[in-house]
Symmetry: D2
Subunit: 350 residues, 4 copies
């Protein structure tokens, strides 16, 4: 019902964390689009595990393209790719069918699928699936960049640390992580704990008028995709988090003519009015929960005996999923914008 996303650009994802492979089918990219495998690999490396602050599970995350590309360019047919799973250790997960990990998919997935779901590493619910988003996103993102549409994201909050936000009218698109934020993650890791995070993302260079009324507002399309990313629990556009306390006289973005173009003098709308892009940068933030898997004893239940128990999780887990989600959020933004461009009957930007 739901492995496929998009209107004119469609992405279908598949795979389980510890299965043979994960992958995707990307359908609708214009024929003749260059596919730069080095660029894809570079984006994959940004999301890949293996650093000191992520899961010790180490994977090359090599993207194998099976179809849709001829001589380095898209050929108009669906572009399918796989990423083989290596270094899998399904033995770590057998107990969770009986004693679900708190705040994890184990319990509702087990009920939904009558126990037939793959519990190993969260199966299809694993954050590993976001590698597919990055692979697909990097293909369209590269093409958007060639047409002047750029995307960047960075961590602005983790635990008690905050980083400076982008200038909402002229974002730097710097994607580095502040030292104070890295320190929070290290601290959590050392305590056997995990920590949440907030990512800010900007998209610059957009044409005016993307988005479709009523149900396909830019906010709706972006949020739908972003909330598919495991761990994302909040999405806010522009000054949304301050909006409930704000007054129109201060929150409205005044319009002006500057260098022959219509611009907004502030960007509380996050680049979107009436669900349509207004030419200003799209700015949004994503709030992610702490990794549910922690290395401290937790209250859970034994579903066979139907009684309370205490769960100790072993295995390999990121202390902060938000850290590796930065390129995933960028990929979501690129995918959504590309689809909105193709869906706008008047757009000639691509």
């Amino acid at each position: 019902m739901s492995a496929t996303w998009g209107n004119m650009l469609k992405l279908t994802v598949f795979g389980e964390s510890h299965g043979a492979a994960i992958g995707g089918v990307l359908d609708g990219i214009r024929a003749g689009t260059e596919v730069d495998e080095q660029y894809i690999a570079a984006q994959m490396a940004r999301r890949a595990p293996g650093s000191k602050l992520s899961t010790p599970r180490s994977e090359a995350d090599a993207v194998e393209i099976l179809s849709g590309v001829t001589n380095g360019r898209t050929n108009g047919a669906p572009l399918a790719f796989t990423i083989r799973n290596r270094n899998t250790r399904s033995g770590d997960y057998s107990q969770f069918a009986v004693t679900p990990r708190p705040s994890h998919s184990d319990y509702p997935a087990g009920v939904k699928y009558h126990g037939y779901n793959d519990f190993s590493g969260g199966g299809h619910f694993s954050g590993r699936l976001t590698a597919v988003l990055v692979a697909a996103g990097s293909i369209v993102r590269r093409e958007l960049e060639k047409h002047g549409i750029k995307t960047g994201a960075h961590l602005i909050r983790v635990g008690n640390a905050e980083a400076e936000r982008y200038d909402p009218q002229s974002p730097s698109l710097c994607t580095d992580t502040a030292q104070s934020i890295l320190q929070q993650i290290k601290d959590a890791l050392e305590r056997g704990d995990s920590v949440g995070g907030q990512i800010e993302c900007a998209v610059c260079g957009l044409p005016v008028g993307l988005g479709e009324p009523f149900f396909d507002s830019v906010e709706s399309c972006l949020a739908h995709l972003l909330f598919s990313v495991p761990g994302v629990k909040g999405v806010s556009f522009g000054g949304a988090d301050d909006a409930p306390s704000a007054f129109g006289s201060g929150f409205n973005d005044p319009l002006a003519v500057r260098e022959g173009r219509i611009v907004a003098l502030t960007n509380n709308a996050g680049g979107i009015n009436g669900g349509l892009t207004n030419g200003m940068p799209i700015i949004f933030t994503v709030k992610m929960r702490p990794t549910p898997s922690i290395f401290q004893p937790q209250k859970s239940v034994d579903m066979e005996k139907m009684q309370d128990t205490v769960l100790n999780i072993k295995g390999r887990h990121d202390p902060c999923i938000a850290l590796r989600a930065v390129p995933v959020v960028e990929a979501c933004a690129a995918l959504a914008i590309y689809d909105l461009i193709l869906s706008d009957k008047n757009q000639t930007v691509l």
Copy 2:
């Protein structure tokens, strides 16, 4: 491209603020479902304008059902309905094609549609379209209630005023507005200003396992619909707004067996794990911007002369769109949940 929403339940909306009528087509309701026109009217009245704190535009908002109902029950065919527009005054809006209202759809819609769009009252971008959501939502909501699934929303923040939140594990579903919040709206109205607001919504009595991986997480489906509502700029599930600063040891919801059922002892997840309902109440908040139309001079542009100008808006406008959006948010929740139930191949709850 986008007038239609949903998978197994589909809602198609139409209409402009000052056109002949707005309306919708609701397809996929089970045949034999009771359609209680009094219940619908009661919900419509909650959203209707006419109070001292909303636009003076007064409309009965009578829902005329054209098809899909026989002898008071759905007959399996699409249920179409209209709400006639009365009391329209399109003269108020003629200037906005040239001098767009800041933070409003005027500018991007004019670009997108090459000026052919209906500027009167915002046309199809008007908040008036949310009456269609309430009408459609009240039909499925009534049926959900009969099966024990209940929805409620209320304002928790407007300007400087805050109201008490629901208990996330056992929400009261009270929909009243606190006096302090009403006072903030009155104050904004008197100043010719507008004010934002935050709505909290809860859905109780849900089965475990609703939601479809990967792209149709419960969060994705709800957020897609909620961000269609004009003025909604942020959506947060459970404890999302605190999540970036939280640690897993405190944010995880411990599981326990209580009275023979598996429950979570806290509800930071807002009733959703891995994108699936976990049987706890769904809790989310919606952050809405202040109404863009205010009665103070604003900086805008003259698009014919391509120069800066000052705009004074007349007409009728709500000082706080969040006030009337409370039943709209409830309607969105009911529509999304009904669709998720029908889309879950194992559900027998309806």
Copy 3:
């Protein structure tokens, strides 16, 4: 699930034969498209009942546009319209819930909807719904014509009478009905019987390359829509009916350069190769069953007593549904082609 059709152009239909109104919502037409109500009315008149050879039920079939049009042009918002039902006589139909009409929807619809469906005039299954297709189709068809894409259909077979087919490489698009065919219908009417029919349709002036692989071949998209028309039981493209007996050496369409353009010297493919338009006219035929309602005693069942019975149908019925389906088939062709043009990312024809 199914009241909505289309990708970039979406049509949602609603209504029952003897309900308040039938109608549709057409979403995705380019903003600024002229809506010529006289043209629509003329197409509606071609399908309308009232002639000596159709049902005596007489209706003006006036199309009321509720939204989506400003100053005679589409405004980018969904275009909703209704056609009020007048002259309804639901008393004629009450018996069919118990004793279904053979070859009619009565029996399977009653089972599917547990008896809650509207049996009056076939309810939502009535051929009357095709008036919605004609109304919607005439809006896009007019626009296609302005861009040189023309559609025409005519009856080529009814009972024992046949009419001359179009020249498949240069169709005349004449829509008249041959006298011999009208005589067959008259004869059937006089006998209290009904008769089937075959309609040929051509679309000329098409660009090369419409259609999307794999599942949205031109044939798939056209056939999906055509088989939605009540009574259509067969769809054949080009020389399909002769194809099983043909050899490649005779059936292939040789290519040639004529006046600087690539053309096919024959058109057995019906203008479609590999599911894509090849620039030749699209040619297809539609085979329709005789009207199931006849004025002769028929074997049926009494579902309450679960025993055999004999049914005598009264009421008003067309002796040949194919006669009035000619403009419906043209409307389907126009809708499908318009959607395929919008769905082709490289098309600039509109």
Copy 4:
């Protein structure tokens, strides 16, 4: 736009004839469904090339399942599979970008994709893609069989040879090919020619009421999928080919009570009334064109010089695509019926 088909069951296909692999993603199968790899292999073998009467290209067509299956049963996640291409010879096809094969996708695909499409073996337009339909179809077909829903198809016409049709009320589901038909194919092969064919298919054991009004009639859903199969040019349900000459008094299917069940005494409707299954076997035929690739000189064009030329095709081609399409048609029927069952909110058959 179009690599994905289905509502509640979704199939996404990918691959080119001479690329790395073809494959599919099947989403929506109930969790816990047995996946019998031997059954799949047996169905694949029925479609596989390698016999004397098909292309000499010989491939094992081994289906590798990448996801969606745990311990031999579906796990609720999308089921992805690939079929590696071996024995590819892309050198055979280089000329067709300049001199397109008559009645083949070469010309329109080259125009549509500005020459970026993969011409090797027809690329994504190759009949080889139907192997994906057979693989996916065999998974759901096996499950339908367990619930008493059986599918069978056979060749009823090739060239001048005809085979006996199924009894429309009680089809035998024999899938053998008549000797006279095989002889027609042999003769065509010897002449360097190709020949068309007509396949009859039946589906038995269906519940009453499958199909959704208005646009998702059983005929629409089946035809959409069938016309995706390369070479299919006509689809007819029940007695459709005779319907234009028939009268209602002879074509209507009388109803009767037999052994406590309601049955139709004839089956001219092909098991479908008003777009819904009526409990009788679904019967339809598919008409396929002769293979466009023949070993005789053909008139074509040189698109670089824009002048007429003569084309001689070499390579490996089936003399009759209909022969290998028999299991493909069955697979389409199984996929469409499975989707219709899941889409019917009242069905409990699976």
